[in-house]
């Protein structure tokens, strides 16, 4: 992309691991980019892949779904379902021409505040590289 822009990233974090990891990053005063806005869900398995489409449509330049490491899901299996779903959704979006760097997923445990920062940095970097998401952004937001 020609000019530098600040991407807007929407993150869906599971309450038990990743949201707690993000809290830990806060408690440890780990500074990261303010581009990321977090929506708390109980489990990564809750995140309907269509939320991503909606986010991209609303104008998010990248999305992140983060859950517990495989095997550590507070609800036993939610992250396994999420892994499958987002793997496919990412492929589908890629097929439509959405840069795959916009769709990110991570496993961040409650003790990985430092990893959370790394994940944010990488997600933002990828979204920067992909440029502003204006392919199928809603032109008229309020009516």
């Amino acid at each position: 992309m020609s000019e530098e822009y600040e991407p807007n990233i929407l993150a869906f974090l599971c309450n038990w691991c990743s949201y707690a990891g993000a809290d830990l990053a806060g408690t440890s005063r780990t500074h990261y980019l303010p581009n990321i806005k977090i929506i708390r869900v109980m489990c990564s398995g809750r995140v309907n892949p269509l939320f991503l489409v909606n986010a991209l449509q609303q104008g998010a330049d990248g999305v992140l779904i983060s859950g517990c490491h495989p095997g550590d899901c507070h609800y036993l299996e939610g992250n396994f379902y999420a892994r499958r779903r987002f793997m496919l959704m990412r492929k589908l979006l890629e097929h439509v021409g959405v840069d795959p760097g916009r769709v990110n997923m991570s496993w961040v445990s409650a003790s990985e505040g430092a990893k959370f920062k790394e994940v944010i940095d990488e997600t933002v970097a990828k979204a920067k590289e992909a440029g502003p998401m204006d392919q199928f952004r809603r032109r008229q937001l309020n009516w």
Partner: protein, 676 residues
């Protein structure tokens, strides 16, 4: 309280200066008051304080607020606090939404303007969600007045006794043939030097005899299901091949065992020997013998001597029974305490200390058995005994090495094991006591004498002539190949004098640390616990909920949560017991209100949700749809944990988790997705 037309109150917290020094709070308040549905927007220094909460309560009462947004710290921190506030003011607690502008804004962003903008957005998203929040009903379920305690070390014993003394039923499951755990292996305890067995044994006996305790030794939990208040566990009582109702514990069987004195005793850290039919140690509770099925000739080879098993013949009570089989027992309990303890660090993973190579390099726990009056050497620190346990010599120059397997990234253990400094000091004292002439050196990185009486004890040990050298030995090796010469060289740099030393010793004791149990994974899978970075079980909150786990009704006690000394373990066990007792004594517990529900008129009965649900909480049932019988999903609210996996699997959106419905998340996306 009318909730039809949302009247939202937004409360932005300064959190002292934690939020206010980065985020422009007045600007956020101003922005919030411009948002649709917002009736009141205020700021306050500490929203969680009493005056802060009163502010909310007053506004609810006087202005008729029906939605409350608190923009402050993480909902993981204070959501319960403010839910309670709403409840006290007569508002449904689920009309609360929090905006996390501390952990995920002021604490992580440096740029004040950007942080303020983000805080505004987070508040706006909370408002968007608040507009569509719904009142939820909190339900109560009965708590079965009993507790299952896993592990019968000092933590499990103490927790079980406390609950049993309060008058409630306790099931204690212990994997090994006897209760007691690691504490029963210790000789003296620091810093008071009371005899470990003397203070532990009465408690062991109490556990076995308490009318409210059902003790299951040599048993393991096979499966657990259910939820807080109503757990069901299946316990496998492994076959002892000894009828415990007949066994008198006389020990004639062990004396007659063909392998008597030929099997290394786990209890004695393999220094002493036992038989194939054995009592782990003389004070074992229950005092019933057990046959080791892997070593017993009859059980492993199918044949024991020409005349058949000698133990069975010797047993006058006729207790030996080779036909015995594992027994599965189902129990129901309201709470669970996990007290599975720890493993000591495997010294073989530090090959530079040559523990595997030389008999006179031993671990701290081996040392305990060696100096224990009930140990294989009768309390004499004898080294180099022969296979029959005879001969041997007393060491003259003893070295103790700190931090073996702790504070050591090379073995993956960054943490301090908390007990090694003091147990090594105690062991140095014991050597001084038993061998007044011995030369004693302790090699340490730091001495952490933090507990009550620790520093005084450390001081006393030094005054008794124990030399402390600050340095982490790099190598231990034998001075020469002569088998009669036991001299070992400890290579170390004295970091206080910057001198490289090669000191001679004839006994080296490794201060091995504490590690998560090797079978920790099984427990995790069974109870769905999570682990901290160090591998120990993770508590629900490191400060405020140190004995709780993320799973309601399951508590932690002792070293399974992290290294601890005995008083800390006992304190935590008592804490876990009281936490369990809160549930048991009140008899009721609130279950998750944020569960899934099905709009059956939209359900097409495909069963995707049924297959996704990890808790088996959904089933397909018949529904009469205008005379046609169709299948639709139905949620069992007592089993549902509210994860919402079903909602993501549902194609029609018929099943939705309360408080996290599509129509509640989409507005948040609409706010936060917009690039500013």
């Amino acid at each position: 309280m009318s909730s039809r037309r949302p009247k939202i109150g937004v409360y932005v917290c300064h959190c002292g200066i934690n939020i206010g020094s980065v985020v422009d709070v007045p600007a956020v308040v101003e922005y919030a008051s411009s948002l649709p549905g917002v009736a009141i927007a205020r700021e306050y220094t500490y929203m969680c304080s009493d005056p802060g909460q009163n502010l909310v309560k007053e506004d609810i009462k006087t202005s008729g607020l029906n939605r409350v947004i608190v923009a402050s710290c993480s909902p993981r921190m204070h959501e319960p606090t403010f839910r309670k506030t709403l409840k006290e003011a007569g508002l449904n607690p689920y009309f609360l939404e929090m905006a996390n502008i501390r952990e995920q804004c002021s604490w992580v962003h440096e740029d004040h303007a950007e942080a303020t903008e983000k805080a505004k957005k987070l508040v706006e998203a909370a408002v968007a969600k608040a507009l569509v929040l719904e009142a939820l009903e909190e339900k109560e379920v009965d708590v079965i007045p009993s507790c299952l305690v896993i592990g019968a070390g000092i933590a499990g014993i103490q927790a079980a006794l406390d609950i049993a003394d309060a008058g409630f039923k306790v099931y204690v499951v212990e994997k090994t043939p006897s209760v007691g755990g690691h504490m029963s292996q210790l000789d003296k305890t620091f810093p008071t030097l009371d005899c470990s067995a003397c203070i532990l044994t009465p408690k062991m006996v109490d556990v076995a005899n308490h009318p409210n305790i059902e003790l299951m030794t040599y048993s393991q939990v096979e499966a657990v299901e259910g939820y807080v208040g109503n757990f069901k566990a299946t316990i496998r009582k492994k076959a002892r091949y000894v009828d415990v109702s007949k066994c008198t514990g006389c020990g004639v069987c062990a004396e007659n065992c063909r392998l008597a004195g030929r099997i290394p005793s786990e209890f004695d850290e393999n220094i002493g020997m036992r038989s194939a039919i054995y009592l782990p140690f003389p004070q074992a509770v229950p005092a019933k013998y057990t046959i080791d099925p892997e070593r017993c000739l009859q059980l492993s080879k199918g044949k024991c001597g020409k005349e058949g098993p000698a133990c069975a013949e010797a047993c006058t009570a006729g207790a030996v029974n080779f036909e015995q089989e594992d027994e599965l027992v189902d129990i129901e309990c309201g709470t669970i305490i996990v007290a599975t303890g720890y493993d000591v660090f495997d010294a073989a993973r530090k090959p530079e200390y040559a523990w595997s190579d030389y008999a006179n390099v031993i671990t701290g726990l081996e040392f305990e058995r060696l100096v224990s009056a009930s140990g294989p050497t009768g309390g004499k620190p004898l080294l180099g005994r022969d296979k029959k346990g005879e001969g041997g010599y007393l060491p003259q120059k003893v070295a103790f090495i700190h931090c073996v397997g702790s504070r050591d990234k090379s073995v993956g253990n960054e943490y301090c094991s908390r007990v090694c400094c003091m147990y090594l000091a105690k062991q140095a004292h014991l050597i001084r006591d038993k061998l007044p002439e011995a030369d004693i050196t302790v090699y340490y990185m730091d001495v952490r004498a933090f507990g009550k009486g620790f520093e005084e004890f450390y001081d006393r040990v030094r005054r008794e002539g124990v030399r402390y050298v600050r340095g982490n030995p790099s190598e231990v090796f034998k001075k020469n190949a002569d088998p009669e010469d036991h001299t070992l060289i400890v290579k170390v740099e004295d970091t206080l004098t910057a001198q490289a030393l090669e000191a001679e010793h004839d006994m080296v004791v490794l201060g091995v640390g504490l590690e998560p149990r090797h079978d920790v994974r099984e427990i995790i899978d069974l109870f769905k616990l999570s682990q901290s970075t160090d591998g120990f079980f993770m508590e629900a909150h490191p400060k405020l909920r140190p004995v709780d786990t993320a799973s309601d009704g399951i508590f932690l006690a002792g070293c399974c949560q992290g290294p601890k000394d005995i008083p800390d373990t006992v304190a935590q066990a008592k804490g876990a017991a009281s936490s369990a007792l809160i549930l048991i004594a009140s008899g009721k517990v609130n279950v998750e209100a944020q569960v899934s529900f099905v709009t059956s008129s939209e359900c097409r009965g495909c069963g995707f949700c049924v297959e996704v649900c990890p808790f088996g909480a959904i089933e397909l049932v018949d529904e009469n749809r205008m005379g046609n019988i169709v299948k639709v999903a139905l949620v069992n609210e007592a089993l549902c944990k509210g994860c919402g996996s079903c909602a993501a699997a549902c194609l029609s959106g018929a099943i939705q988790p309360r408080s996290f419905k599509d129509e509640q998340i989409l507005p948040q996306i609409a706010v936060l997705g917009v690039r500013t």
